[in-house]
Each structure stands twice: as structure tokens, then as C-alpha cells.
């Protein structure tokens, strides 16, 4: 019991210390009695918050207990608008972004018990950065937390979708197939549909259902070729299923498509490599492991 209390105390001390970096912060305080106060949040306390506000010509500090607070309108953390996950150029930029978001996330945890905190936005960004880092296990934990704290349905749905994607990347047996297939049907736009088609297709391949894998993956070259890299990624993944089904002709045609249409990309390189192996006499079925076809552009 004592140990537990010590832990709680430790958490409280560290969270409060981390919160200090956000303060002071101009907020609009919504109290349960209906009052709205524009003030400056100066301290997070164990019981609630301490704010400073102008009263007449002077500034006064007043504490508010948690049970008095309905919500707080916090200013939007600049990090949520300044980081574009897709635009991060290199590993170092990515690591710096992760560290920055991690710090913010830790600091904002001090306000986890107050409605209006920016933890959902931060978790969303944090998850996306971790995905980009391929730290899918950690990203999955973030999305699980996002699912728990999300106050609106779109955020919860987003968390569920990304969780399925993380499950996809951390399993080798197509464990997320059902969820991914559902997301194909309910995708918000074609780009998202293309992404889930890729994951669902690869999941089918992981389960050894190669015909279904091909009919899923190859929807991307047919319908969504204008949406990012999903066409070459899907064509590359399709090579595994063509090999598994011993579809030599289709395997070669797809390699040719990749080398011609996507010159100087990682996918063209994979196709070139497999064609070379095939020419050197490698058995087609020896080229059927899906894990060898999941490379992404660096």
C-alpha cells in the first residue's frame, strides 16, 4: 500500500513538474456554475489549478478545485500545426519531432483529468510519428490510449483504423484482415481506400490466400494509381502471391511494369532483383515470401 502511494506521489510530482513547462498559459476557464473566466493558468496543483486574472486594476491569483471545473479552453499547442509527418525529410528530423511530441505529451498528461486538454491531438500526432519510425508496437499503445480518451467518434474511428494498421505491421499471419477489409469498405476517400487495400491484400497473402490477395492488391493499380505509392507497393506485394501460385508469366509482367513505370525506386529495384534471380534459375516458389516485398521508399 505504501509502495503504491509512493508511486502515485511520484507520478504526481513528475507530471506536475512536466506541466510546468507549459505554464503560464492563457486559458478560458469554464466553471460548472456557468462562469467563463479568461485568465492565465499559472500552476497545476494536486487539487486543481491556480489561475491569475485581472480583477479591476489588479491581478489576483485564485485556486480552482477540479470539481469546480467544467472544461478549459487551452491554446492549441503549436507542435500540432508545425509538424507535418509526411514532410519530415530524414531520420534526424523524425527523431527530433518524436522527442518534441513526447515532451509535450508528457507535459499535457498533467491535464488529462480536465476536459479540453489536447492529449487526443498529441496522441494522434505521436502515433503517426511512431508509425513513420516503424515503432508499431509503441504506436499501437498510443492508439489504444487514444481510443480510450477520444471524446468524438471520428477520433475513435481514426484510432481504431491506425490500430489495425499497427496490428498489421506487427503480425505475420494477417491477424488484422477482417478489420482492414471493413475499413476498405468504409474508407473516407480513395487514398485511404488504397492504403487499406494494400494492407488487406498483404494480410491475405500472409494467410496463404493468394488469389484473394491478388484480387485485393491489384485494385490499386486499376482504380487508385493516382494516389501516392500504393500502386507500386501493391504490385510489388503481388509478386509474392504470383510466385506462390507459380504464375511465372504474371510475375515477369509485373516485374516489367515495376521496372518500367517506377524507374529508380525501391520497388523497381526489388523487381529487378527478382527477375535476375529468376533468370539465374531460382525456383519461382522460392521467391514467394511476402516479407521480402514490403519495402518502402526511404
Amino acid at each position: 500500500m505504501k509502495a503504491h502511494l509512493r508511486l502515485v506521489l511520484l507520478w504526481a510530482v513528475s507530471a506536475l513538474a512536466a506541466a510546468a513547462q507549459l505554464l503560464p498559459m492563457a486559458i478560458r476557464l469554464h466553471l460548472k456554475d456557468g462562469r467563463k473566466l479568461d485568465c492565465v493558468l499559472v500552476q497545476r496543483t494536486a487539487e486543481g489549478i491556480l489561475v491569475e486574472r485581472r480583477v479591476g486594476t489588479t491581478r489576483a491569483r485564485e485556486p480552482h478545485r477540479l470539481e469546480q471545473i467544467d472544461a478549459i479552453q487551452f491554446p492549441l499547442p503549436s507542435i500540432l500545426t508545425s509538424i507535418n509527418v509526411r514532410a519530415l525529410r530524414d531520420k534526424q528530423a523524425l527523431e527530433e519531432a518524436v522527442q518534441a511530441v513526447e515532451q509535450q505529451y508528457t507535459a499535457w498528461q498533467a491535464f488529462a483529468d480536465i476536459r479540453g486538454n489536447h492529449l487526443p491531438g498529441l496522441l494522434r500526432l505521436y502515433g503517426a510519428l511512431l508509425e513513420r519510425q516503424k515503432a508499431y508496437g509503441t504506436a499501437a499503445r498510443m492508439y489504444e490510449q487514444l481510443q480510450r480518451i477520444a471524446v468524438d467518434e471520428p477520433t475513435r474511428l481514426h484510432a481504431t483504423k491506425r490500430l489495425a494498421v499497427c496490428t498489421f505491421w506487427t503480425s505475420t499471419n494477417g491477424a488484422a484482415l477482417v478489420a482492414l477489409t471493413n475499413f476498405v469498405a468504409t474508407a473516407e476517400d480513395d487514398a485511404e481506400r488504397a492504403e487499406f487495400l494494400f494492407y488487406a491484400g498483404v494480410s491475405y497473402a500472409q494467410r496463404g490466400e493468394h488469389v484473394a490477395a491478388l484480387f485485393t492488391l491489384l485494385k490499386n493499380p486499376v482504380f487508385y494509381s493516382m494516389h501516392g505509392a500504393w500502386e507500386p507497393r501493391s504490385l510489388t506485394a503481388a509478386l509474392a502471391s504470383f510466385a506462390a501460385l507459380e504464375r511465372r508469366e504474371e510475375f515477369i509482367t509485373t516485374c516489367a511494369t515495376l521496372t518500367q513505370r517506377f524507374e529508380r525506386t525501391v520497388w523497381a529495384a526489388i523487381a529487378q532483383d527478382r527477375l535476375h534471380a529468376l533468370t539465374c534459375g531460382t525456383n519461382l516458389t522460392a521467391l514467394a515470401s511476402i516479407t521480402n516485398y514490403l519495402a518502402e521508399e526511404p
Binding site: 484480387f215 491489384l218 493499380p221 486499376v222 493516382m226 503481388a238 508469366e249 504474371e250 509482367t253
Partner: protein, 935 residues
């Protein structure tokens, strides 16, 4: 600069000054008129403004005092007309303005408006001229980019794409024209398309769509992409057409985006309209927004008038993928039509093509499922007979001939006028032939050949070929030969010709016309050296020559079976060996096997080669070389766990150590070798040598030593080091001692680990027997089939045949069982209990068929001829008695039971107890009396 500022700030002062010199009354009228026009213009009441300024112009245009003010009046009048979209009047007013004030500070704006007005009036030539004048005279004019864009639009309206392109290129890339860049991109594609510059149009299209550079122009781009795809397709540029088609969006998506755009444009226009200060730029913007809105609405209406847009696009996409050989993608597009647009007029065609595509991809179950769906949905469609045909054909392609036959029968019944009836009938008989239903196939193909309507059928050649093949495979070689020869004469260039020539040779051989066979086969081998049957033909030619006694030529024929022929090479070497053996040419035999061993050192067959090498040495009297060849074989290959054939070597080796000294010498060497090999960890070889010692001790009556060796064998050699022979050695011991539970796992291990070994046959046989005994008939059948596939030696083959017959009897196929038992009786190699077992089986089968009259003599032959097998004898007596009872021959039955009970050897069997019970039942006593005569 605003309209109000222009008119109020500049013109009003001029007007006031001019009017100061005029009469008071007139001045007041002019002032009031001017003020009214100005106020109305400011308030956006352009009707009143136009009326006021027009009246002013009518009254004072030629008034010298008004000369200075009139340009302003005409400017305002032009603006009012322009805003009322009275473009002709606006142009007139603006022209008058410029005539009166050639250096007007509003000149740029006026020229721009005049150009716009001409554009609105459809006089694109004048509009272009004015836009050009504006851009030359006022390169920094604020609306310059729009002027250039509109000029391009005018060029396009005049179908002058050559001049439109540079204007649009300028707009696309100029920083001041950023807002128009998307529209310029979209129009550029249209221009390139119209000029026939398809590749440029395509690269621009792909760049724009992928880069989302013209998101507001999806309909324009979509329609252009479809058109471009069609042009490229007609030029046979399928890859290009695919790229173009894949830039098209679905109609729903385009409509959704277009509606969003219309709503945005409406909001913008409304915001502009709400602004109180209507500058000419704002009015101009409002006009532009209204124009764009109208254009968007028109495009929406255009889309609404194209209900088949998506299906037409998908069909094009599918066709294109099909033409470039990407059938999976073609299927996806066809399926999209089928699943998403079931009401479309194209759905039947799309569905039919989906089926054909799937069949072509050899995805037969999927093709069939789609074919069934098609036939259920559109039974009356024109494509229905063809789809039904594809469905039936798919079974044939899957080699599911029974299902193919059933489906083809159904097809021919449902579509008696089927356009491919000739081929369907041919396929039906082909399916029968491939199920070995030769009688039906033969009759069917004969009927087909006699059908006059099929005389010119494209299937005629196939039918002729398959008719001959049916005769051939049904064993009617004489007629087959005639048909094959006729075929070759009539269709010498047919793709079947090589195969037919081979079959002619083979038919000659099977008819024992070896000379003709050899001649035909040599023709075949010379004419078709790359034919898949070449090795078989060379082998058969060798066999024909050997059968003719032409052993030297036969050897040369066999020598053509080179190592790359795989199993034929091994066969060829074995046959050459046999020829040398017949010719007693052991020297060449030695050379042959030395070469063989050197050529295929890693093949399990080499063990047999080493055996024959040693054998040949022995024939040459070189016992030392023979022994060393064997020891060499054992040392080199004996530790190969998966290999077999060492038993023969070890048996022959024993013959090379004759006499008691020899036995002792060999035993000593075997023991030494076992120790050496065990020390080296070569336990598989050691186990084989130990087994050899066991058999040698057995043969020489040293049973105790042999049993001691067998007892310790299992402990010394774990099952994971034993080869199939070692496992079988241990398993046989257990089996013979009735320890079935110990034997079965070993048989299973052989079955699992030694798929290629012929020793697997015995293991599978035992497993089949065990399975049958516990009633697992399916499992038994599986093991039996494996045994039949693996067996190479006659005794095991006969035992398997017996087991097969007993299995058939077990599953109720008594007649087939009798045939199998008779195979055993017909084989002189069948020894031991196999014959009485076969006799008993036949009797049981007849009993099963309730043919007791035929069953009894078979039982009788057992107890008359095979009394040495008491268990079978007891059974034979008892069952013959039962048969007599069923025939109501009670006395004969009683005699049989009494004979059984009179033989004390049979007392131990349960049949004796049954016989006693039956006897008591029939006679009322169990007194044994000698019968009056045995039955």
C-alpha cells in the same frame, strides 16, 4: 481605383466646371442628371445609371461645353451597360469613350471590358485582338493574367489551339497567375488533345491528376482523360490508354466534387454581391464566378446525361488491361461493373467477359462460380450458351473428367442448337476417354465422325486423333494402328503428328511387330529429337531391337538414353547390362557400371550399379575385385540413410565367402567393420552390416547368436539413424512376434521418411492391413494405394494384390475382388499362404454374391490341397458347411462340420466351436460320426 472614385473624384469636378459656363436651368438639369446616374451606379442600380448617362449623352454629346466631361460619361455609361450585360451597348459606349479620350487613364480597364464584352458576344476574333492590344499596351495591368487566360479561352473557342497553348503555358507558370494555374492546366490538356499531341496531353494529364494541380476541374479532366484514352487505344498504344483511363474518376466522385465546387462558387459570388462598394473589378469577378458556376452546372448536367459513364469507363479499362495481358486487373474492372452496376446495360457483357477472363487465367472454380451466377441471372442472354460451355470446359481443364462429362451432357440437352455443339460433343467423348470409359468414348467419337454436319468442323482433326488414341489406350492396337497411320497420311502437318508417329511405333511394339516398331521409332527419334516423348521412344526402340535379338544395335539405342534423361538413363544402363549379360560380355559390363557409378555418384540407383559391377567381376572370376567393389559400395554409400539396395549386395557378398572358413572370415570382417563404423559415428552403415551378420548367422543355423544380435539391435541403433531397411528389420521382428503396437510406429516412420524407397511398399501394406482390421477402410485404401505405387518386388506386389482384393471385398466390390484374387492365382511366383488365401478370398466373394454353388469348390480346394494351413482349413470347412446349409444340402453341411471336428489340429480354432454348434442344431446331437461321404 474604384468606379466611384473615378466618376466622383475626377469626372464630377470636370462636369461641375463645364456646367458653370452653361445656362443656369440647363446646368441644373445636367447636374441633376449626372448626379442621378452617379448615385445609381454607386448603389448598383445599373438600369437607372444607364438610363441617366444615356440621356446625358443624348442631350450633351455634341455640346462643346461638355467636351471634357463626355469621355467620363461614356465610360460610366459603358460600365452600366456592361454590368447589365448589355454588351453591344457597352462596347459602343466604351468605343466612344476611347474615341473621345485616346489617352484615357481608364484605357486599360476599358479595353479589357471591351474584350470581355466581345467574348461574351461570341466575337472571339475581336476579343482576342483587344486582349492582345491590352497586353501589349499595358503589360503590368493588374488583370493581365486573366486577360491572357481569357484570350486562350477565345482561341480555344475558335479552335485555334496553336495560339491557345502558349497563352495557357504562360498562365500556368506565371507567379501572378497562380489562381488560374489549375484551370490553365486543365485547358492545356484539352488543347493538346485537340491538336493530336496525345503523348504531351497524357504526360500533362498524369502530372496534373497525380499532383492534384487542377482539383477544381475534375469533370473537364475526367472527360478529357476518357477521350484521350480512346484515342491512344485506337492508336494501339494500350499502356498509354491505360494511363489515361486511370486518371478518370467515377461519376459519383466527380459529381460530389463538382457540387462542392459549385457551392463554393456560389458562396464566393454571394459574398461579392453583398459588398456595397461594387468596383468594376468586383463586378468583373462576379461575372467570372457566375460564368464558372454556369460552366460547372453545365458539366454536372453533362454528367447526369451520361448514366453509363462509369460502366463505359470500366469496360474500357478492363479491355485495355486485357489487351496488355494483365488479366487479373481486367477481371477486377469487369467485376466492378458486375457488382456495382447491376442495372447497367453493359452488365451482361461485363459478366460474360469476367467468366472468360477467369477461365483463361485457369482460375476454374472462380470461373465456374461466376458462370453459374451468370446463367442464373441471365439465362436468356445471348452469351448464355457460350458461358455454359466455358463452365463445362473448365472441368475438363481441371482434369475433373467425371464432372466434365456430366456438365457436357447437361449442356447438350439444354442447348440442342449450341453453336459449338461439335466441340461440346467432342469434349464429352474426350472426357469419357480420359476416364477410361473407352466403350462409350469410342462409340461417341465414331458417331461424331459420321455426323455430316461436322465434316468441316474445326474439331475434326482433334476427333480423328482422339479416336485413334481411344483405340490405342483401350488395347485395340490393330485398329489403332490403322487409324494412326491414316491420321498421319491425312494430317502430316498436324500438331499431333509427332505423337501419332510415336504411337504407331508403340502400337507395332505392343503387337510384337518389333521390326516395324524399331523402324518407326528410329524415324521418330530422328525427326523429333526435342519431343517430350523422345526418351521413351529411344527406350522403346532399344526394347524392340532387344526383342528382335539385335543386341548390339539395341545397346547403341539404349546408349542414346543419356544421363539428362533422368530415370530413362538408369533404365538404359540396366538394359545394356542385361544385353551384356546375355552376350556374356562381362568385361564391357564392368566398364558400363564403372562409368555409370562415376556418372551418377549421387543417385540412389548407384547402389544397384555397384551390385552389378561386383556381379560382373565375379563372373570374370575376379573375386577380389568383386568383394572390394561391394565393400567400396558399402563404405561409400552405406551410411546414406535414405538409400536402399544394400540387401542384395550383402547377400551376394556372403556368396563370395564360401565354406565355414569363409563364413567365419566374413563374420569377423562384418564385426570389425561394425566396430569401425560405430566408432566413426556412421551408425546407419553399422546397422546395415549388423543386419547382414544377423542374416548370415540365421542362414548358417547359428540362431542363438542371431537372436542375441537382433535383441540388442534396437538398443544399439536408434530409429533416427536407421534406414528404411533397418526400420523394417526391427518392425518385422515385432510384427512376427505379434507386437503390432510396436511395429506400427516404425511402419509409419518408413511411410513418412522414406517416400522414394521401394521398402516403403511393405510398410504401407502392413499399415493398410492394420487399418482394415480396425475398420478404417478409407485409411486402409490410402496406405494400399501408396504400397501399390512403391512396390518393386514380386512377393510384396502379390501380397499387396491379395490385400487389395480383401479390401475390395470389405467395401462390397466382390467381383472386382475376385478378379484381383485370380491375379494372384495366375502368378506362379505366389508362394506360401498366398494361394490358399486367394482361394479363400474368391470363395468368400462368391458367398458375398450369394453364389454358394461357386463358393463351395474354392473352399474345398483349400482343405483338400492346403491342409498344411490349419487356420484356413478350419475356416474353409466351416464356411463350406454354411454354404451347404444355405443351399439346403443339410447332409453335406453335416459332413463338412464333422470333417472339421474330426481333425484334432483344427480343434483350437473358433470355427471348431461354431461347427459343433451348427452340428448340434442340425442333428440334435453333437455326436461325431463319420459322414457317408465328404461333400
Amino acid at each position: 481605383m474604384t468606379l466611384v472614385r473615378i466618376v466622383a473624384g475626377t469626372a464630377f469636378l470636370v462636369v461641375a466646371a463645364a456646367l458653370a459656363q452653361a445656362a443656369q436651368e440647363e446646368r441644373l438639369d445636367a447636374e441633376a442628371l449626372y448626379a442621378r446616374g452617379l448615385n445609381a451606379l454607386t448603389a448598383g442600380d445599373f438600369e437607372v445609371a444607364a438610363q441617366s448617362f444615356q440621356e446625358f449623352a443624348t442631350r450633351y454629346a455634341n455640346e462643346p461645353a461638355m467636351t471634357a466631361v463626355m469621355p467620363r460619361v461614356y465610360y460610366a455609361l459603358g460600365c452600366a451597360w456592361y454590368n447589365l450585360r448589355k454588351m453591344e451597348k457597352a462596347v459602343e459606349a466604351f468605343e466612344e469613350h476611347l474615341r473621345r479620350a485616346p489617352t484615357s487613364p481608364q484605357r486599360a480597364e476599358v479595353v479589357f471590358r471591351m474584350a470581355s464584352a466581345q467574348q461574351a458576344l461570341g466575337d472571339y476574333g475581336r476579343a482576342v485582338k483587344l486582349y492582345n492590344e491590352l497586353l501589349r499596351g499595358f503589360p503590368e495591368f493588374e488583370q493581365g493574367p486573366d486577360a491572357r487566360f481569357q484570350m486562350a479561352v477565345c482561341y480555344m473557342a475558335m479552335e485555334d489551339y496553336t495560339n491557345a497553348i502558349p497563352a495557357l503555358l504562360w498562365v500556368r507558370s506565371h507567379p501572378r497567375a497562380r489562381e488560374l494555374a489549375g484551370a490553365a492546366e486543365a485547358l492545356l490538356i484539352r488543347c493538346y488533345l485537340q491538336r493530336g499531341m496525345y503523348q504531351v496531353a497524357l504526360s500533362n494529364l498524369v502530372r496534373v491528376v497525380r499532383g492534384r494541380l487542377a482539383e477544381d476541374h475534375v469533370v473537364l479532366l475526367g472527360l478529357a482523360a476518357l477521350q484521350l484514352g480512346d484515342y491512344l487505344y485506337e492508336d494501339y498504344n494500350y499502356e498509354g490508354a491505360l494511363d489515361a483511363y486511370r486518371c478518370v474518376m467515377r461519376r459519383g466522385e466527380m459529381e460530389r466534387r463538382q457540387r462542392v465546387r459549385v457551392a463554393r462558387l456560389q458562396r464566393l459570388r454571394s459574398a461579392v454581391e453583398k459588398q456595397s462598394n461594387q468596383t468594376w473589378e468586383r463586378v468583373s469577378m462576379r461575372e467570372r464566378l457566375a460564368g464558372l458556376e454556369a460552366q460547372c452546372q453545365a458539366e454536372l448536367e453533362q454528367l447526369a446525361g451520361m448514366p453509363e459513364f462509369d460502366t463505359a469507363w470500366l469496360m474500357r479499362l478492363a479491355r485495355c488491361f486485357y489487351d496488355v495481358g494483365r488479366l487479373w486487373e481486367a477481371c477486377i474492372a469487369f467485376r466492378a461493373v458486375v457488382e456495382e452496376y447491376p442495372q447497367s446495360g453493359m452488365v451482361t457483357t461485363a459478366h460474360a467477359r469476367l467468366v472468360l477472363c477467369l477461365a483463361q487465367m485457369r482460375l476454374f472454380p472462380t470461373a465456374r462460380a461466376e458462370a453459374e451466377a451468370f446463367l442464373m441471372r441471365y439465362p436468356r442472354a445471348a452469351e448464355a450458351p457460350q458461358i455454359a460451355f466455358v463452365k463445362a470446359e473448365s472441368y475438363l481443364n481441371e482434369e475433373n473428367f467425371a464432372a466434365a462429362e456430366a456438365e457436357l451432357v447437361k449442356l447438350l440437352e439444354e442447348y440442342p442448337e449450341h453453336p459449338s455443339r461439335d466441340r461440346a460433343e467432342f469434349y464429352l467423348h474426350l472426357a469419357q476417354a480420359l476416364q477410361e470409359k473407352f466403350t462409350e468414348a469410342r462409340a461417341g467419337l465414331e458417331r461424331w465422325r459420321q455426323t455430316a454436319a461436322y465434316a468441316k468442323s474445326s474439331a475434326a482433326v482433334d476427333v480423328a486423333y482422339w479416336y485413334a488414341m481411344v483405340l490405342y489406350f483401350s488395347g485395340d492396337y490393330t485398329n489403332a494402328l490403322a487409324q494412326l497411320t491414316a491420321f498421319l497420311q491425312q494430317h502430316p502437318e498436324s500438331i499431333y503428328a509427332p505423337d501419332v508417329l510415336y504411337r504407331i511405333g508403340a502400337a507395332h511394339y505392343l503387337l510384337e511387330r518389333y521390326r516395324d516398331a524399331a523402324i518407326t521409332l528410329v524415324q521418330f527419334t530422328q525427326r523429333y529429337p526435342d519431343h517430350p516423348l523422345i526418351w521413351e521412344a529411344r527406350m522403346l526402340r532399344g526394347d524392340a531391337l532387344a526383342a528382335l535379338g539385335q543386341l548390339d544395335i539395341a545397346i547403341r539405342a539404349y546408349q542414346e538414353l543419356r544421363p539428362e534423361s533422368g530415370p530413362y538413363y538408369h533404365y538404359g544402363v540396366a538394359q545394356i547390362g542385361k544385353c551384356y549379360k546375355s552376350l556374356q560380355n562381362y568385361t564391357n559390363m564392368v566398364v558400363l557400371y564403372q562409368e555409370y557409378v562415376a556418372t551418377v555418384p549421387n543417385s540412389p540407383q548407384v547402389v544397384e550399379g555397384m551390385y552389378w559391377l561386383g556381379w560382373a567381376y565375379r563372373q570374370l572370376g575376379n573375386l577380389h575385385a568383386a568383394r572390394e567393389a561391394y565393400w567400396d559400395a558399402l563404405a561409400r554409400y552405406g551410411n546414406q540413410r535414405a538409400w536402399w539396395g544394400f540387401e542384395e549386395i550383402l547377400k551376394d557378398l556372403q556368396r563370395m565367402y564360401p565354406g565355414s572358413n569363409g563364413v567365419e572370415e566374413l563374420a569377423q570382417r562384418l564385426r570389425e567393420e561394425v566396430s569401425v563404423q560405430r566408432a566413426r559415428g556412421r551408425l546407419t552403415l553399422a546397422s546395415r552390416l549388423a543386419m547382414a551378420e544377423y542374416y548370415m548367422l540365421q542362414r548358417n543355423g547359428r540362431t542363438n547368436e542371431a537372436e542375441e544380435l537382433a535383441r540388442t539391435f534396437g538398443a544399439r541403433y536408434p530409429t533416427n539413424v536407421l534406414g528404411a531397411d533397418g526400420l523394417l528389420f526391427v518392425a518385422r521382428q515385432a510384427w512376427q512376434q505379434g507386437r503390432t503396437a510396436d511395429a506400427v510406429p516404425l511402419f509409419m516412420q518408413i511411410s513418412r521418411e522414406f517416400a522414394a524407397s521401394p521398402l516403403r511398399a511393405e510398410a504401407e501394406l502392413r499399415l493398410a492391413q492394420v487399418a482394415r482390421q480396425r475398420g478404417a477402410l478409407e485409411e486402409a485404401a490410402r496406405h494400399l494405394a501408396a504400397a501399390e505405387a512403391a512396390v518393386q518386388d514380386v512377393p510384396t506386389a502379390l501380397e499387396i494384390t491379395i490385400e487389395r482384393a480383401e479390401h475390395l471385398l470389405g467395401v462390397g466390390e466382390a467381383r472386382a475382388a475376385i478378379a484381383k484374387f485370380e491375379e494372384v492365382l495366375a502368378n506362379r511366383a505366389a508362394r506360401g499362404p498366398l494361394w490358399p488365401r486367394a482361394l479363400f478370398g474368391i470363395a468368400s466373394a462368391y458367398e458375398e454374391l450369394t453364389d454358394y454353388v461357386k463358393a463351395i469348390p474354392y473352399y474345398q480346394r483349400i482343405y483338400v490341397m492346403y491342409a498344411g494351413y490349419p487356420e484356413l482349413t478350419a475356416k474353409a470347412y466351416y464356411y463350406s458347411g454354411r454354404c451347404f446349409e444355405r443351399l439346403n444340402k443339410i447332409q453335406e453341411a453335416i459332413n463338412s462340420y464333422r470333417e472339421l471336428l474330426n481333425d484334432p489340429r483344427l480343434e483350437q480354432y473358433e470355427e471348431a466351436r461354431y461347427a459343433r454348434e451348427r452340428l448340434k442344431h442340425l442333428t440334435g446331437s453333437n455326436v461325431l460320426q463319420t459322414g457317408e461321404g465328404s461333400s
